[in-house]
């Protein structure tokens, strides 16, 4: 955590670093109090969180979007690399952006659909080739493998062949589960049932595999409380055993 706040190193004799740690520690405890139930302390933390993070987002939008992408190219081209004159084309997105405010004028509120149509069309068009690349071609390529592979010495690799078979069966049956326009009876019913089993195994594995990561998030907070905050009230647990 950075110690100095805007060049100020201490307030009333307490270093800004310590104040920062206390602030963080109190907010940490406030959020955890939600586990017991909703309470005034959590409410304060929640409302601080919303205010601060909304302002953070707004400030970054101002510095990273409005100024460099709209204001400077239009009004201060001298600050833009490789540009000598204002980029008047940016008036178009500027106007589209302004149209959003037509919502406040009931007679013209339909104008606010123009920017929405632009954005949704833009991303819809963008997503088609991207989705085909990553979700179709890449996945198909990865699944196409021999069911009876041989190693360099000419030996058949039965188990890895079985794995490939299982992959193909799993993919086909999962797709069968998602099939909408046929009743899931007979062969289709059997396949979609197997598909659900694959899905459930996948979800179980996904769940079990994530537990560890979530526990380590808690470890992170506890380390902060024990090794950053406790020392500020004179309790030192050392720096952990051995390394650290």
């Amino acid at each position: 955590m950075p110690g100095a706040a805007g060049g100020i190193n201490a307030i009333w004799g307490i270093s800004t670093e310590v104040i920062g740690i206390w602030l963080a520690a109190l907010l940490t405890l406030a959020i955890y109090s939600f586990l017991y139930g909703d309470n005034p302390v959590y409410k304060v933390a929640e409302h601080v969180f919303v205010g601060v993070s909304a302002a953070y987002g707004a400030a970054l939008t101002y510095h990273l979007a409005i100024i460099p992408k709209l204001y400077n190219p239009l009004f201060r081209p001298d600050l833009v690399p490789d540009a000598d004159e204002p980029q008047y084309i940016l008036i178009i997105p500027g106007l589209l952006g302004l149209l959003i405010f037509s919502r406040f004028i009931p007679r013209y509120d339909w104008l606010s659909r123009w920017p929405i149509a632009f954005i949704m069309g833009l991303y819809a068009g963008l997503s088609i080739p991207r989705v085909i690349q990553t979700n179709i071609l890449k996945q198909m390529q990865a699944t196409i493998a021999p069911l009876l592979p041989v190693d360099a010495g000419g030996e058949y690799l039965l188990f890895s062949g079985f794995e490939n078979l299982l992959l193909v069966v799993g993919v086909v049956c999962t797709l069968a589960y998602f099939y909408f326009s046929l009743p899931h009876r007979g062969v289709m019913g059997g396949m979609s049932r197997v598909g659900i089993w694959f899905l459930m195994i996948g979800f179980g594995a996904g769940f079990g595999n994530t537990v560890m990561a979530r526990i380590s998030l808690l470890i992170g907070r506890i380390q902060f409380m024990l090794y950053d905050w406790l020392p500020t009230i004179g309790i030192h647990l050392g720096s952990g055993p051995g390394v650290g």
Partner: protein, 275 residues
């Protein structure tokens, strides 16, 4: 009684989880050793096999959220690299990386009497994702004309004789996201530089396949990997403590699931009987 167990206040679970995670840190209690995973051992052997003075690039591609799992790894690796008198170059393609590097390497280097700029350097972050990775294949000093502190890399002793990946003994990417994929595709594949990675537990599964193909020469998997590495260098630390918390937490959850199911079936049977 089972009826009650089936619907007890979930806050009891919250308290228990909190306790099992916090206790190892308060008491220093640790789980017993496990086996060393081959991918951890391979990374250790790789570092052991390097000649003293060989530059090793330690890449910090994570931020505060990855700290619990990756900081212990970084600590153990830094300890190993510096105590073997290898040169350590800290690099990052994730913007929060350089402060992670500083946080881990600086205090440890001081402890081991290693000098910044001579034995190790924090080169800092470069934007562009794969762009700096590719550029370093041509010229590392040109990609990083200055280090994190703004000193020209030309004048740093630690950078002497380093031009591109050919001069790097090993790259280790510590990442909480998908950065290792970029290092594999843009550093290892075209330049054949040796590459290993340390990743969070959830990401590890994506990288096993690269071990099989030999594109990675080692992999540390979450806190378990960190604990194993600590065991190898004989310095138990936060990896082991964290691993202990995780192990017990897993067991507590499994215990609850079993209790829940016994309760569920007992209640169901007694209901069926009474009907």
């Amino acid at each position: 009684m089972w009826e009650k167990l089936l619907y007890f206040d979930r806050r009891i679970i919250f308290v228990l989880i909190g306790l099992v995670v916090i206790i190892p840190f308060l008491t220093g209690w640790m789980v017993p050793h496990g086996q060393i995973t081959p991918s951890t051992q391979n990374l250790y052997n790789e570092i052991e096999s390097l000649e003293p003075g060989t530059p090793v690039m330690l890449v910090f591609d994570y931020g505060p959220s990855g700290m619990p799992e990756l900081h212990p790894m970084a600590t153990a690796l830094t300890h190993h690299i510096l105590s073997r008198d290898l040169r350590l170059l800290g690099v990052a393609i994730v913007v929060t990386g350089p402060s992670m590097c500083q946080d881990v390497v600086a205090p440890l280097a001081e402890e081991l009497h290693k000098v910044e700029g001579v034995d190790w350097v924090n080169l800092g972050w470069k934007p562009g994702g794969v762009v700096p990775i590719t550029q370093m294949g041509e010229n590392i000093k040109r990609t990083y004309p200055s280090d994190f502190q703004g000193r020209p890399t030309n004048e740093l002793e630690v950078m002497a004789g380093i031009r591109d990946y050919q001069d790097i003994g090993l790259i280790i990417d510590l990442a909480s996201g998908n950065a290792p994929g970029a290092w594999i595709a843009y550093a290892h594949d075209p330049y054949k530089v040796k590459l290993a990675t340390g990743v969070t537990g959830v990401m590890a599964i994506d990288y096993y396949v690269y071990l099989q193909t030999g594109q990675l020469c080692g992999l540390l998997n979450g806190l378990r990997g960190a604990a194993e590495y600590e065991q190898l260098i004989g310095k138990k630390g936060f990896g082991f403590l964290g691993m202990s918390s995780q192990s017990v937490a897993h067991l507590v959850i499994i215990f609850f699931v079993i209790i829940g199911n016994i309760g569920y079936f007992t209640v169901r049977r007694s209901r069926q009987r009474s009907e």
